[in-house]
């Protein structure tokens, strides 16, 4: 008999195919479920496993009501702000995420944000969609060259390191701030700053790759934006909570920042509409891991975690030990 699984949201086709082959699941392709629907489905189908995504608030209230036959909850995401890990531990419910598999994809998107912000891709796209009627003068609509610039990376974890690798292909000088200095083979010549404030004046382009949460909330604010050189470019494909958007909008409006590229926002999807009224922003809807390859790999990794626990092995990517 196949193990019983509930999927709380739509999955890419190859993931749904594997679910169909290996699990007993009423909606292998998933559908958007509320916490109450999840509880109802898990209970009525006697499910042993739950595959969820960040849309589901997996809080103490829901975890506490889950029946004992549920043996694992796997989130198809690397972030787990939507999960009350302490409540899961108290209930002895293994919960897992999907690290590693989205590193390259997110680093690619970060380079896209850097290029698009520096090269005014939003304004150029708008010109074309409006029917482009004239050539531009030689001093008109100019962007900034990316190659050879100084790139500051806040948080040189897996994704930060992958961004640094790509940036070196553009001959960029890499600076980083991190809770601790990393060994030389990871640094690859990048310059370490223990204090973000010390690094900012040296950054032509700044990219955030730090964790979310209370210790980093509002890391970029009026004071820290002011420490960047005039005309700097700011990109964020990590967490919207790292940025005081009021201060960002002010810096973009005053011209202190040349441009910003954002994949994440303080409030998603109800982001601050003033960002969309600025010409010097490039805004995309949290697409860091949005490739067929990566989303499939994330779903597969979540299923690997589920299969491990259901066959009595330890989870591969546990959120608590």
């Amino acid at each position: 008999m196949k193990p019983r699984l509930i999927v709380s949201r739509q999955m890419p086709a190859p993931v749904a195919e594997r679910i169909r082959a290996e699990f007993d699941c009423p909606w292998p392709e998933g559908r958007d479920m509320t916490p109450d629907e999840v509880l109802h489905q898990v209970t009525t189908t006697q499910a042993e496993a739950l595959l969820l995504t960040s849309h589901l608030k997996f809080d103490a209230g829901l975890i506490g009501r889950l029946p004992a036959h549920l043996r694992i909850a796997a989130t198809c995401s690397v972030g787990f702000e939507h999960i009350d890990v302490a409540a899961a531990r108290a209930r002895a419910l293994p919960v897992t995420n999907t690290p590693d598999v989205l590193t390259d994809c997110t680093a690619d998107l970060t380079m896209l944000l850097i290029l698009a912000a520096c090269r005014r891709a939003h304004e150029y796209d708008a010109i074309m969609r409006a029917g482009w009627r004239r050539g531009y003068g030689l001093g008109e609509m100019l962007g900034l060259r990316v190659s050879g610039k100084r790139l500051g990376i806040v948080g040189l974890g897996r994704i930060g390191q992958a961004v640094a690798r790509r940036a070196r292909g553009f001959g960029m000088t890499v600076l980083y701030s991190n809770p601790r200095r990393l060994p030389a083979e990871i640094e690859q010549g990048a310059t370490f700053f223990a204090d973000l404030r010390e690094m900012l004046p040296h950054c032509d382009i700044l990219s955030l790759h730090a964790r979310g949460g209370p210790t980093t909330a509002g890391l970029m604010n009026a004071e820290t934006f002011a420490l960047l050189p005039k005309g700097a470019v700011f990109v964020n494909a990590s967490r919207g909570g790292l940025v005081d958007e009021e201060a960002l909008i002010a810096a973009l409006t005053s011209g202190h920042l040349f441009a910003a590229g954002l994949d994440v926002f303080h409030n998603e999807p109800a982001f601050d509409r003033r960002l969309a009224e600025l010409p010097n922003t490039f805004l995309i809807p949290h697409m860091g891991s949005a490739t067929i390859e990566t989303r499939t790999a994330m779903g597969m990794r979540a299923l690997d975690n589920i299969a491990a626990v259901l066959s009595g092995r330890p989870p591969i990517d546990p959120l608590w030990n």
């Binding site: 390259d104 949005a290 390859e293």
Partner: protein, 320 residues
Amino acid sequence: MVKPVLLVTRRLPPAVEARASAMFDARLNPEDAPRSGADILRLAQGADAVLCCPAEKLDGATIGALPATVKVLGTFSVGFDHIDIGACRVRNLPVVNTPDVLSVATAECCMLLILAAARRAGEGERMVRAGGWAGWAPTQLLGTQVSGRQLGIFGMGRIGRELARMARAFGMAVHYRDVARLPPEMEAGAIWHDDDASFLAASEVLSLNAPGGAATRNWLDAARIAQLPRGAVVVNAARGSLIDDAALIAALRSGQVGFAGLDVYAGEPALNPDYLTLENVVLLPHLGSATVETRNAMGHLALDGIEAVLAGRAPANLVR
């Protein structure tokens, strides 16, 4: 000492105009008004040099009628299709251009087009800005991964090689098609193809970086598109004439080409209006070299060449 007179046909970046005014008695065009051949002949009276732009057509008649005082013609471009070079030779008028300095900016534009097209950034941008973002979903706007893919570069000149360097940092395997194989130090591991079929089959991402002209007109046609892997990404920041637009549009509709990114168009600034009906294309208005740094470097190089000719020296950027 009296400074030589330089006619500048169009408005240039401020740093370049400042230097032009310091070096020369510069006749600038602060309104950036377009200049006809007749305008140029009128404004060039008494000038020692002319710095023109690709927007002006300097045909044989215009070159022949330039005042005898004009000793050098500079163009703010790497290409010189707009200048009758034969007529310049007859008139013994040296021409200087701006090679090399655009390569990096144009290669960056190619990489931007590749990433933006493959990752559906145009669609995402328009959706967010129009207020149509309903929230994150695991299957929303799924693009295709760029890093680790095979990149085919058609035309491995300076820009192609700069693009190859950037692509290697994304872990891409670089394939190229050119008339001859490059020496190993220029190849840097890229794989040469001496026929279209094997090159196209390897090109999960195809970037056109060849010159325009009759030899490459409509190179990317329906037959060649059919040889690409299904769902390939196609980008062009070289010349619009390289692509058979109707064939590419059909392939973008059928899914044979998954995504395209274009900076140049046949007949620009007009373009095939069907492109505007497609979501899976990213379109830029021929601004491949449009960075402050590059345009300044172009201007300074053109001024250096003009200065060299007027001083009786051989310019490094003489068009031969």
